[in-house]
């Protein structure tokens, strides 16, 4: 745990230095950090609890819309809006999970797509709620302590704080009772029950935490884009992208989702410059490579080898 926090500390220092080193590459870094945070949050449910969701874009949209509508219609400061969004996301996840956690494996995954699609249609069609299909502008934002919330550097720091927060939470969870409950439920629900664990409650907690964190990131995303359209924010492909980021990096690992974000978004940016049209094709190929050769994801395989090696060494000595 101390080791992980040391790494995180180094990452924070590197993050703080970044805007000074690459002042012209902030947007891409913000994307990487947001995806790292989203994927890490997704992973609490998808990796640690083993419930594969393809509907998390719904929570991104929720967070972004709370900030935008809160600001434009109610003059609500974004930090309050984000807090409300997190509560709303957790409540939504609670209801959603209550209904769908009776389903196993692929059925649960399918149900997440269906629920997220219904949310998307509501966001598009209920203009009174969301500003409708034509979108919402965030035109003004408060300036707490003279900080310009429209500034890229501020966005960068918010995204950095978000991703660091999610990773820190996962580090703590990984060593905690809750973390072991999550893994037990993922591996074998019957066996978990025999250990006195109520799988539905554990999964619900994971879903609510995961949803609230993703919504927080969604709020930052909303400020970052400052123009929201439901088609973009509730997009099925965004859900898939979040899930793939975690899966390729390594599900149920502390650093896997962040590594996935760095690789996928970073390489996506390089492909954007270099290969133009083929970037999503390359996503597809990457998935196949990972599934065929690194079934636990990039960091998952590294970690597993490390565990085996450590054990081998301990038996020699």
């Amino acid at each position: 745990m101390i080791r992980h926090f040391t790494v995180l500390g180094i990452a924070v220092l590197a993050g703080l230095a970044y805007p000074h080193l690459f002042p012209n590459a902030l947007t891409i870094a913000i994307s990487v950090l947001l995806f790292a945070g989203w994927a890490t949050s997704w992973d609490i449910l998808g990796g640690w609890a083993g419930q594969l969701s393809l509907g998390h874009a719904g929570f991104v949209g929720l967070g972004a819309y709370f900030v935008a509508i809160g600001q434009s219609d109610y003059g609500l400061a974004p930090w309050w809006a984000m807090m409300l969004a997190m509560i709303a996301a957790a409540a939504l996840a609670f209801a959603w999970g209550r209904i769908t956690f009776g389903l196993r494996g692929p059925y649960f995954t399918l149900s997440t797509i269906a629920v997220a699609e219904i949310l998307r249609m509501i966001a598009i069609n209920e203009g009174w709620l969301t500003g409708g299909a034509t979108g919402v502008f965030i035109a003004t934002l408060p300036e707490p302590f003279g900080i310009d919330l429209f500034s890229r550097v501020v966005h960068f720091h918010m995204a950095l704080a978000f991703s660091v927060l999610t990773v820190a939470i996962v580090i703590i969870i990984s060593q905690s009772r809750f973390g072991y409950q999550l893994r037990a439920v993922r591996e074998d629900e019957s066996s978990a029950m025999a250990a006195g664990i109520n799988p539905v409650v554990v999964k619900l907690k994971a879903f609510m935490l995961s949803a609230a964190l993703v919504a927080l990131g969604g709020g930052i995303y909303g400020i970052f884009l400052s123009f929201l359209e439901p088609h973009i924010l509730f997009y099925l492909f965004l859900s898939i992208q979040i899930a793939l980021t975690a899966i390729i990096g390594g599900r149920g690992t502390i650093w896997g989702p962040s590594i996935g974000a760095l690789l996928l978004i970073g390489s996506g940016e390089i492909f954007r410059a270099a290969f133009a049209q083929a970037n999503l094709l390359i996503y597809g190929l990457l998935i196949l490579v990972v599934i065929l050769f690194l079934p636990r994801g990039i960091f998952g395989e590294i970690q597993r080898r490390a565990v085996r090696r450590r054990y081998a060494r301990s038996t020699q000595g």
Partner: protein
């Protein structure tokens, strides 16, 4: 009376569209029934079928239905190749690995088509695209009727294959009990390849029959068809061939009647809500216990 005619019209449209949905769903359900894999690339294979019809029409001027002569065997070969090259290699991995692999395949097909054909929608102009067959006051769309007939023929053919042939017996055996099938000498790996080949071929067939009324676009349409196929199969019962017809027809009716008498903007939501309800209340599907399993 004035209310009755539109209702009949809507019901007949719903039934026919349901037939098309059934055709999209049946391949997915066959693959799931035998292999336990949810194929996220199913819709992209439908789109691949559409493009094959577009291609043969552009190059040889063929009617879409003629291009089935090529699309069907090509589909089988493509499916076998994908199964051998990818899915068979991860047969022992957790089930979501296969699901994720098909997600990757979906991205590859969609964007491969985008690179090849460009982003503009493509369609095939047939003389009967807008023709109708009047039955009393109700007009039946010819393209929908043809697609419906194709569905019936395909499902009938599939039924014969599964129940009247040696290979069908082996497929059913593998679906029921893989280990047992292996014990009686069935090469279940080979069966998996064949089944995936048939699944892809069915998806491409659906694409070909759809092209006279729709248009092909490479990247977004695949996911929509995949979702429709899911809904159909869950409504009917995953892994259950006959029930795919029931599920498709049900979805067609729910959508058409919902769009006709409720808010049309929520059209897809009606199907999805039905899907969620069935998933929660009757996960074996509406027709799960009444129709013989694969």
């Amino acid at each position: 009376m004035s209310e009755l005619v539109p209702l009949l019209q809507n019901i007949s449209n719903g039934l026919l569209i349901g037939g098309v949905y059934a055709l999209i769903g049946v391949g997915l359900t066959l693959v799931f029934g035998v292999m336990g894999t949810i194929n996220f690339a199913h819709g992209d294979f439908v789109v691949l079928g559409m493009y094959s019809a577009v291609l043969f029409n552009a190059v040889f001027g063929w009617d879409p239905y003629i291009s089935l002569l090529i699309a069907v065997p090509v589909g089988v070969l493509v499916g076998i190749a994908v199964e051998r090259g990818i899915l068979a290699r991860i047969a022992d991995a957790p089930p979501e690995s296969a699901m994720l692999a098909t997600l990757g395949i979906s991205l590859i097909i969609g964007n491969g088509l985008l690179l090849t054909f460009g982003g503009e929608p493509k369609s095939v102009q047939v003389s009967y695209a807008s023709s109708t067959l009047p039955i009393g006051p109700v007009n039946i769309s010819i393209v929908l009727l043809l697609a419906g007939l194709a569905t019936v023929l395909v499902i009938l053919g599939l039924y014969m294959l599964l129940n009247r042939t040696e290979i069908g017996r082996a497929i059913r055996g593998t679906a029921e009990n893989r280990l047992g099938a292996e014990l009686v000498g069935i090469n279940t790996k080979r069966i998996h390849s064949i089944v995936f080949g048939i699944g892809v071929s069915l998806a491409m067939t659906a694409g070909v029959t759809l092209i006279p009324m729709l248009f092909a676009t490479p990247s977004a349409t695949g996911a929509i068809f995949t979702l429709k196929a899911f809904v159909v199969t869950v409504l009917g019962g995953l892994g259950n061939i006959g029930a795919a017809i029931g599920g498709g027809v049900l979805l067609g009716l729910v959508e058409v009647l919902g769009a006709s008498y409720l808010d049309a903007a929520y059209r897809d939501a009606y199907g999805l809500i039905a899907f969620l309800l069935i998933l929660l209340l009757r996960p074996e599907g509406l027709f799960g216990s009444t129709v013989k399993r694969v």
